[in-house]
Symmetry: D2
Subunit: 335 residues, 4 copies
Amino acid sequence: MIRVAIIGASGYTGAESIRILFRHSQAELTYLTALPEECGPVEEVFPEFRGRCGLAIEPLDLDKLSRLADVALCCLPHKVSMGFVPKLLDAGVKVIDFSADYRIKDVGVYEKYYQKHTDIGNLAKAVYGLPELFREQIKGTNLIANPGCFPTGAVLAMAPLLKEGLIETDSVIVSSVTGASGAGKNPSSKFHFPNMNENLFPYGIGVHRHMPEMEQIAGEVAGTGVQILFQPHVGPFDRGILSSVYCRPAKGLTNEQLQPLYNEFYKAEPFVRVCKTAPAVKDVAGTNYCHVFPALVKGQLALFSAIDNLVKGASGQAIQNMNILFGVDEIMGLK
Amino acid sequence: MIRVAIIGASGYTGAESIRILFRHSQAELTYLTALPEECGPVEEVFPEFRGRCGLAIEPLDLDKLSRLADVALCCLPHKVSMGFVPKLLDAGVKVIDFSADYRIKDVGVYEKYYQKHTDIGNLAKAVYGLPELFREQIKGTNLIANPGCFPTGAVLAMAPLLKEGLIETDSVIVSSVTGASGAGKNPSSKFHFPNMNENLFPYGIGVHRHMPEMEQIAGEVAGTGVQILFQPHVGPFDRGILSSVYCRPAKGLTNEQLQPLYNEFYKAEPFVRVCKTAPAVKDVAGTNYCHVFPALVKGQLALFSAIDNLVKGASGQAIQNMNILFGVDEIMGLK
Amino acid sequence: MIRVAIIGASGYTGAESIRILFRHSQAELTYLTALPEECGPVEEVFPEFRGRCGLAIEPLDLDKLSRLADVALCCLPHKVSMGFVPKLLDAGVKVIDFSADYRIKDVGVYEKYYQKHTDIGNLAKAVYGLPELFREQIKGTNLIANPGCFPTGAVLAMAPLLKEGLIETDSVIVSSVTGASGAGKNPSSKFHFPNMNENLFPYGIGVHRHMPEMEQIAGEVAGTGVQILFQPHVGPFDRGILSSVYCRPAKGLTNEQLQPLYNEFYKAEPFVRVCKTAPAVKDVAGTNYCHVFPALVKGQLALFSAIDNLVKGASGQAIQNMNILFGVDEIMGLK
Amino acid sequence: MIRVAIIGASGYTGAESIRILFRHSQAELTYLTALPEECGPVEEVFPEFRGRCGLAIEPLDLDKLSRLADVALCCLPHKVSMGFVPKLLDAGVKVIDFSADYRIKDVGVYEKYYQKHTDIGNLAKAVYGLPELFREQIKGTNLIANPGCFPTGAVLAMAPLLKEGLIETDSVIVSSVTGASGAGKNPSSKFHFPNMNENLFPYGIGVHRHMPEMEQIAGEVAGTGVQILFQPHVGPFDRGILSSVYCRPAKGLTNEQLQPLYNEFYKAEPFVRVCKTAPAVKDVAGTNYCHVFPALVKGQLALFSAIDNLVKGASGQAIQNMNILFGVDEIMGLK
């Protein structure tokens, strides 16, 4: 049994991780922590789990963590996270970090989009936890940077073409729409029901922090720099991200090559489905699947993907990483 | 031209009143006030009105009010409202008050559900602004208590039967579902989109403040005490209230009598439509209509009504009252 | 391993049953049938199951059923169902029937609300599959009438009081709101998105077929006739039913007695949670739970329950019944 | 008074046109037609208009049209429309056609995306009814091709830059999300509430008929060919289109130039607002406004617009065109 702690368990990704672990036959929740004001019995913090979990959410105690857990899912926000991760590692647990703090390898880029980085040593060692691309590296690490929700969908939509050098990398557009759970649990005017309902709007124009993360990973796959304009939007639904990627193909690429290329690239992947028609967010809601569909239209590529932002875009992918890390069946708890 | 001020213009009912007054050919907005932190040009507070209103929302100045307005729509919350209304009246304007402060005639009942009443003198003079029942009294007053949204729908659903003594008044159930705009503009966990979306729940069980208001008005219509159990619910839509009223008929009432009775009672009403099938909130969204439908089922009455909570349930009804008060066509601005 | 067939697998309850069975460690899907025009590989009929189920949905072949299955979940509509159930039983499988055909014991009542009954022999033998009330009978039958979604929620909300004779049974109101999945998979004007979205309305006024079913089961629990006025509404969400039951208490009942009474009644139930505050449909969405909350308000009872109409209201309850029938852990596949 | 007929009045754009005309002080509805099976009193076809319109919807009679109307809003689908328009013109009325039949000047392009064109004579004379670009031509015509909803939003988002030659026209991406009312009134599986709710997906990949229309109009503004990849998506809301246009600027363009350029271009326009932040569909819902916002991000242009697809994208724009055509105030009925 893998003994799992969740650090920062009181938010949406904490709840989703708990839900998935209930179904996992080789892992058990042993320790849940949060800020003091968000602590309490699980069934009070999350009424939907009443009668299913006897644990309480407590303030973090590193000794306790050390005794009780093999791995910590660290669901803290960026900046806060890098304050805790070194301590979690020192406590002898493996860490899967949900924040952006260990995703961006170039400290200068990180500091431009976020703030000063205070744990550069661990940053260098962290592995980017996108199993479809970095499964082997994940197996041997103590610290996984769990990918951002938008980069997960966007990179999986274009990876087969990037890998083969079939995309012109100087000008890629990623236009995504996320459900409102992406904004987290704290109430705000923008996400007040009477504002968000029947609404849809772009945000983070030109400044969204997932842009450099996408460029880094896309660049690693392509083996060359990739220039991405990433534009997120938010729409009136709970879960899911639909990413539409527009770019120019390398010369000679035909529409007929796309399906075989994608099928080959993803043939062994348990959570990527290459679709024959447009994907829809409802088809993947509540699942760890990423549906992808590539098309060549009037000489341009239009590549689509759909994921559940809280599952493949966060907690499901973290459990998938955990499964790889501990050598259990990768799909455990996720199908 | 009726010169209209709105006191507390920065919330949903303020915005809805502004929207209606744009279409009113015999009234003009002259003065808008709010708390200092919510002031600013209308087109900044309400981007949807950009280019349509040159006014700014300002802190209240009673002299200015006195010079600029004939009537004040007072959109303040209860308790706050009764602190201002005497001053507004002293400034020489007529007042249409959206709060509960002048609706409940029995001070003891008011104080049980709300708090100490500090303006009992004006309370006694105020007229309850439900035009279908109190049109004549409205014409001659300086202070109108604009009805609550739930009482408006519930009372209109049963008034024809109450009037004729055809309902057993010892046990009336009013079970209503409102859209989320009823909760106002301030963000909260309950109305955070990821919580309210795909959700529906009862609230205010046994304690909702619209219960005594309903009982008072129903009692006035019936000419006898009416015992009402009122249960509100909230659902995942912006606007509208569907009220389902369940009660026992007086002996001998038949289903065939219902439509003629309702048609007769409402025949001259511009905003009540007696339907031949079940009403739906979408049919009245954005309008000042109340759709009613009575049925006798297995010996019990099931009476339904649908209104838009922000229009017939608040701002539309206020403008209807204003039209009556100033002797202009009652439907002005509302059709 | 329990070998499970689904007859009429192409609709919402079929899909939900498949989804639950994927997680069931002691049951396996072996045979899926539907009308010829709805047949095909599971992953084409339900793209969300791609890669998870190698079966095809085929036209029913009774020999095949006989060889391949121990139990049939019969997801056919009423009238169609009673044409097939005798043949399924003859094929030697146990049957859990989702339709209304075997729920109403009084043939006269059935024929008033539905149509002529053509399988009266099996009707007499069928057990009503509400485990919280009829667990023992379920264990020994070959034919379970899986309860209607509305009766499930309504009866569970009042059963503890009915059992103790604490409700006046001459006049019970059940006012429910269901999500739109309750209408099934066939497109119609009423459920066309631009009509159903931002809408809520009552339907089936006075004629809904779940009314006599509720009365029958409530009557069995109470040991006396129960008169119910049942009024369903539909709202703009996918899943869930919130039932609000209004009735008069027997003399002397106090609010303080309610929680202990409900806790005691449901103390051993794995899927009923007695709540301390109002239930919400989102808390039970996707689960087999029924949340109940009783209150005594101004001398009247207001009893609330929330279920997921497709799970506890259909497929989840069917699997719960199947688990009881085959003697495996009742919660298998459902938590 | 302008006497207005609506041909094909029974759908969403017919209803929206009726709603707007109720508020128009210099136009009156005089004649409404539809297919025989969709005829009947207005208040039966559209219960929301009960008591507001005494007309009936009737089968088309050209003599009657000729006697009763000055202008016909032709709300028929493409192909059907070009069968009727010549007759409407012959009846002596001006025609504002909502279909695509008179929008695309190049018959070859029209026939590639639609079908054989049967009224090439009138096609040549028709004026494309986007007032912001073609106001002068609109004044002098008898036949207006009312623009498609997507082209309206997309072209207004980029027109100021196209006009000045500040966009590289070889590769423009238009990625739009529309509300579900865009699909029309006929029920279908895709728009069945339980499918469309909580969903979002792309459609018409590579083949959407608004693509050549956009290219034609963008090309006219730019004075040169414009290559557009147009990708529509549909989301779970009633009304609105958010268009995100991605393209490369001409050399030297700076972010600082954008707002002045857009403000200057649209300074006299009553229905275009240049925003300082991202537009949202809810801000324009129910209005004839188009909100636009241009940004230069990492050397690429991201241009946004929001409209209500049924108002500025259909019926509102038609009335705006009608006002221009008859020389009345352009905003009549629309503010």
